[in-house]
């Protein structure tokens, strides 16, 4: 998802491990998205088993804004990483 998995690695094993770590992260993000958008958008009185139009609109925007957040944080971290503010020191 973030174009990882292609660092200067050599063995098949390491490439597979990187790919697996990436898969785990995408899965983790999806699970977290499901939880968070449920908390932010879904009415928990369960009068209906269907998702209302309002809830559906909220969910679509919730996912879109989560991805935007992801991109923003990624770019910001790269900027901070290049300026040597974080990483390695931690």
């Amino acid at each position: 998802m973030f174009g990882l998995g292609g660092a200067p690695q050599v063995t098949s094993d390491q490439k597979l491990q990187a790919a697996e770590a990436e898969l785990d992260m995408v899965t983790g993000m999806f699970n977290s998205l499901v939880e968070q958008c449920h908390a932010k958008c879904i009415n928990k009185s369960y009068g209906e088993s269907d998702i209302s139009k309002q809830e559906a609109l909220c969910l679509d925007r919730c996912v879109a804004k989560y991805f935007e957040t992801n991109v923003q944080v990624g770019e910001h971290m790269q900027k901070m990483g290049q300026s040597g503010q974080f990483m390695g020191r931690q």
Partner: protein
């Protein structure tokens, strides 16, 4: 993922398939936990009341529809993201 050669892609596919059963089980466990948490809060009785059972049914159906919709949007946004990264 295009850095993996054919053999590595096959191995990776196996890893993906191994994880799918776990993912399904986690979805199921989350469903049970969530609906139990949201619907069952009265412990003056030892078995589920009609009201609780109804709530659990609606909650679980709604949660599946919810994760289905979030899954669709997730894939769309992910595809969009990959496209943007390649066009840069």
């Amino acid at each position: 993922m295009d850095q993996l050669n054919v053999k590595e892609q096959q191995q990776f596919q196996q890893i993906v398939e191994q994880k799918q059963m776990k993912d399904f089980m986690r979805l199921y466990s989350n469903l049970v936990s969530r609906c139990f948490d949201d619907c069952v809060n009265d412990f003056t009785t030892g078995s589920l009341t009609t009201k609780e059972t109804t709530c659990i049914m609606k909650c679980s159906e709604k949660f599946l529809k919810h994760s289905e919709r979030v899954g669709q949007r997730f894939q769309e946004q992910n595809a969009l993201l990959m496209q943007n990264m390649q066009n840069r």
